[in-house]
């Protein structure tokens, strides 16, 4: 049986490609990635032996590798899932896209309460307590979601946790929404 390989031209380009492939295969061996090595081995044997339907063989191996090892399958699943949900229940997403202020549900419970306090009392700016500020997720989320109401050093309005109230004894309570207090420290 004459293998396909016997007709290969050893041009400088092909030799370079072989060298690069060799380095890569060595890396795979070194990193004990035997699954990839097996796939490559099967592909190599197939490429040498298969004459007819070679493109079909390539397509099979390619899509097998793509679906198994790349994010394509996850992407497809997400795409299908999202479209199915939207098409079966289109009312809610279509309404939300055009509703001012929609989408706040992705924020943490504390941030939603802080936003409510800011909105209800229409305060022009605010500060957050040390403990709230230590949580990066809360600090960044309240800063961007409350914008254009700024988190401002020097503001008399503080958003604090209930257990921090001892540190703000000189301040007057404006409102409370579990677990956040809005206080005025002017």
């Amino acid at each position: 049986m004459k293998l396909k390989f016997q007709s290969t031209n050893f041009t400088p380009t092909n030799i370079t490609i072989f060298l690069l492939l060799g380095i890569w295969l060595f890396t795979l061996l070194y990193s004990k990635n035997y699954v990839f090595l097996i796939i490559i081995f099967i592909f190599l044997i197939g490429s040498l032996v298969i004459r007819k339907n070679y493109l079909l063989f390539i397509a099979g191996i390619l899509f097998f590798s793509m679906l198994l090892y790349s994010p394509v399958l996850f992407g497809f699943t997400k795409l299908a899932q999202s479209n199915l949900i939207t098409l079966s229940h289109p009312k809610k997403p279509m309404r939300l896209i055009l509703t001012p202020g929609s989408g706040k549900e992705v924020l943490t419970h504390q941030v939603i309460k802080m936003l409510d306090l800011i909105d209800i009392h229409d305060i022009p700016n605010y500060q957050i307590s040390t403990k709230l500020g230590e949580d990066l997720l809360i600090r960044q989320r309240i800063t961007e979601s409350s914008w254009p109401v700024h988190r401002e050093n020097g503001s008399p309005y503080y958003l604090i946790y209930e257990e921090e109230f001892l540190n703000y004894q000189d301040c007057s309570i404006i409102d409370f929404q579990e677990p956040i207090y809005l206080v005025n420290c002017q």
Binding site: K4, F5, S7, N9, N14, I17, F18, L20, L21, T27, S31, N33, F36, I39, I40, F43, S47, L48, L55, I58, A59, I61, L62, M66, Y69, S70, P71, V72, F74, G75, F76, K78, L79, S82, N83, L87, P90, K91, P93, M94, R95, L96, I97, L98, T99, P100, G101, S102, G103, K104, V106, R139, Q140, R141, T143, E144, W147, P148, H150, N153
Partner: protein, 454 residues
């Protein structure tokens, strides 16, 4: 309002915005490429459409940067866009007799619409939830929307927004802010339409490669889905990866077919990526550098005249397209907005030496490899096939791979000198920063499949 009327309203917003951008782009195209392209062939019509639309997106950004206020820029933009449509009507009247309906072009257009329809749902019907999307990109959009300006009064220098990297490019935030400004309200869904708008030209360009072949099937599956979930979660990384991939695709096709529209389109994409994300600057330099090198190596003396004859057009095209990038950088320096990577400081060099000595570079390499291993597997197998079947890879393959290699070296260097904790930096970004690299590998694989199946 009923679901149907809501859908129609969203659809109308998309159409009107696209028409506005197309009109703007048409003025740019007529201004730069003054010659009336009446001899434009059918295959190029989709290519030109995508080019005009993306030009419009870039010109809209330029207007916002020049006039700063959204109201003024939109008002002037609308007048220019209207003028653009007059030019289009004039062109249609002139070329009316030459036009025939090309069925395959319509199929490609329908294909683009189907892809856009499919990605509409994950992009627009899901709110902004992920970290960078909220803390950086669409926070900037909200700042532009709420102040009605991209100027300093948007609050870029405010003490509380330091975490948000206010120096980052503003192409998408400006468009998102503008859309919401026109709509008159802010929420966590509508601004994401800007991402969808930016996908329109690239989707059309991908469809220009349509043919009944394995290579196209591979391309149309890999390019959007291979970048999951970064194309619809509001991060700019997926968008950047797709723009880099399509630029490589088009410039690769230019090497094969010498169609100048492909070259111009590729270059326009490169000019855009600098305004999407800072990594775009690296990709711009890498791709342009490799393109020039390959071009110079393969140039024939006889074609030199052709190259010189388009220099003036190229110059004007490049100059206008680069303006948004330079204007934003000028503003940045005026307002004192600096990058957190602190490139150029002596500490940068120190970090590089430290990480080369303590073996951190191995961590960077192995983490990078794990992000691209699946696409490298595909590329490796295709290279084996091309050698065994005597299908020597052409310039398009080398162009993609060499450009990708340089981008990779650049990203690798950034990790070497990052002032942040390396493990933290890798954990929070490597899966995203490797996307353009994966894009380059996908494009090279596409051209290899094309070669093998030929």
């Amino acid at each position: 309002m009923s679901t149907v009327s809501n859908f129609l309203l969203i659809f109308l917003l998309l159409i009107i915005t696209s028409l506005y951008l197309f009109g703007l782009g048409n003025v740019f195209v007529n201004l730069v490429f003054a010659k009336n392209n009446t001899d434009e062939n059918k295959e190029e019509s989709l290519n030109s459409f995508a080019f005009t639309l993306l030009s419009g997106i870039l010109m809209n950004y330029l207007l916002i940067l020049i006039f700063q206020t959204l109201k003024t820029s939109f008002f002037i933009g609308s007048i220019i866009s209207f003028f653009g449509f007059l030019l289009l009507i004039k062109k249609i009247i002139i070329t009316k007799s030459n036009r025939k309906i090309d069925r395959f072009t319509i199929f490609k257009l329908v294909g683009s619409l189907i892809i856009l329809f499919l990605i509409f749902s994950p992009i627009v019907t899901e709110p902004l939830a992920d970290w960078d999307a909220r803390s950086i990109w669409f926070f900037h959009a909200k700042m532009i929307f709420s102040s009605g300006t991209i100027g300093e009064s948007a609050g870029w220098s405010h003490a509380s927004v330091g975490f948000s990297h206010p120096d980052y490019p503003k192409l998408v935030p400006a468009l998102a802010g503008q859309i919401n400004y026109i709509a008159g309200f802010w929420n966590e869904y509508l601004p994401k339409i800007s991402i969808l708008l930016l996908f329109i030209p690239t989707t059309i360009w991908i469809m220009t490669f349509a043919k009944n072949s394995l290579s196209f099937l591979f391309l149309v599956i890999s390019i959007p889905l291979g970048f999951f979930p970064w194309i619809w979660n509001g991060y700019m990384d997926g968008l950047l990866a797709i723009y880099v991939s399509v630029a490589l695709l088009l410039m690769g096709r230019y090497f094969q077919k010498r169609n100048k529209t492909d070259l111009m389109s590729g270059l326009l994409l490169l000019f855009c990526i600098m305004n999407i994300k800072n990594e775009g600057i690296l990709a711009f330099i890498a791709i342009l550098f490799i393109f020039i090198i390959i071009h110079l190596i393969t140039i024939k003396i006889g074609t030199l005249r052709d190259h010189f004859s388009i220099t003036k057009k190229f110059f004007l095209f490049g100059l206008i397209s680069l303006l948004p990038f330079f204007i934003w950088n000028f503003y940045k320096s005026q307002w004192g907005l600096t990058n957190d990577l602190a490139i150029g400081l002596s500490q940068t060099i120190q970090n590089i030496f430290n990480r080369l000595q303590d073996g951190s570079y191995i961590t960077i390499l192995s983490r990078s490899y794990s992000e691209m291993s699946s696409w490298l597997l595909i590329l490796g197998m295709l290279l084996i096939a091309s050698v065994i079947r005597n299908k020597t890879p052409d310039k398009a393959v080398f162009f993609s791979l060499l450009s990708t290699l340089i981008v990779f070296i650049g990203i690798f260097s950034v990790y070497l000198f990052t002032p942040n904790d390396l493990v933290w930096h890798l954990d929070t970004s490597i899966s995203r920063t490797m996307l353009p690299i994966n894009g380059g590998i996908i494009v090279a694989s596409y051209y290899l499949i094309e070669k093998i199946q030929a």
